[in-house]
Symmetry: C2
Subunit: 250 residues, 2 copies
Amino acid sequence: MNDQLRLDRVRNVLVRLEETIIFSLIERAQFCRNEVIYEPGALGEALEGHSLVGYLLHETEKTHARLRRYTSPDEHPFFADLPSPVLPALAYESPLFPNSVNVNERLWCLYEEEIVPSLCREGDDRQYGSSAVNDVMCLQALSKRVHYGKFVAESKVRAMPERLGPLVRAGDGRGLMAAITDPDVESGVVQRVERKCRTYLRDLEGGIGPTLDPLAIVSIYSRWIIPMNKEVQVAYLLQRGDWRPRDPEA
Amino acid sequence: MNDQLRLDRVRNVLVRLEETIIFSLIERAQFCRNEVIYEPGALGEALEGHSLVGYLLHETEKTHARLRRYTSPDEHPFFADLPSPVLPALAYESPLFPNSVNVNERLWCLYEEEIVPSLCREGDDRQYGSSAVNDVMCLQALSKRVHYGKFVAESKVRAMPERLGPLVRAGDGRGLMAAITDPDVESGVVQRVERKCRTYLRDLEGGIGPTLDPLAIVSIYSRWIIPMNKEVQVAYLLQRGDWRPRDPEA
């Protein structure tokens, strides 16, 4: 099988993304919630009607799109109106079925309404720029983690065609959700994330600002990241149907 | 004294920045050196003659400048041709003497020629975009750390005017360097950074890619970050001269 789809390789990517996500969330938690940075128009007309975070995310995505970030099958933009790449395309065949699954709109909502309030102290410390820069890093890391479900799903369906094939053909989303769910793997992820958070946060004790509760990050994993990753898996499998890659090694 | 200049507060900012720097360097070290991203023009005409990293840093700074990042006395751009802020200015009096100390040009050189090679595996893994995104984060974090020397210096000169005043008035850079140097504090920083690196890297063992040697990051601190921070302190003090803040509380 394509190296990118070996389940141990997919799992390693997910494990490595844990550091990126935990580090970004810890960085964001230095600052207060700063609700005004999420309100469209609240910081003036010059942001083209966006919130501060929306403006920064849009500008960042425009630049990254020019550098062909979103031609990679593991990257998903939050905005649709992005410029074309200025770098020549990479000769690279995606191992995924061409699909339109993109849950960023909901992820962004959740992030502002659930994740930030669970992570940051209430209030406004005027650190708008730093907060927004960290929000963009968090959103990009979370989006990558959640959409990596496509690689997980493609890897599973190639490994267990007898099990998943009939459910896919029947369009049975609920059955697929049950079939891709592995409570042992999930509780392993949650335990590892908790251990990492405790380690990374220990050194910050006594630093500036109140200490972040490791369980705040653990709960972001169990309440949002893992479920959304599984939803992406199911949505991808339903779009994928009975697809047979031209070259199953690809 | 102004809260921002209390030496314990200044030290806390530096300690907190260690996580930001260590996390960014660990993220960059996932990828190969990818030397081509540092070569101006190597990736085509569309990057306006920049290297890929130069282009991304420039675009990032343009966006951040619009969000008034560089109106803050602890932020220093790498580029001079940046747009004006679109957000209204913050009512904020800098506790620093207005100065032009900016060592980013040399920092950027050092980063590409010394820091990246000491951190990353040799070679090219085609992860240009991800490498460049992490380079920008590293450069911004290192720049903030190095230029925070201005706050350290202002804090010291207010705390020890008898000791530093005569050296400043004599323009005695070498004497100032000796006076601001505290080997115990420096070795404390190095030891703490080593401990943090060992902690943060332990969990990454067995993940994808070869493990980064914690001493690579420690040596970036002792060879580059601490010395450049001290150079900034001295350069700032020499420009500052005998300045007396209108309101010494500011």
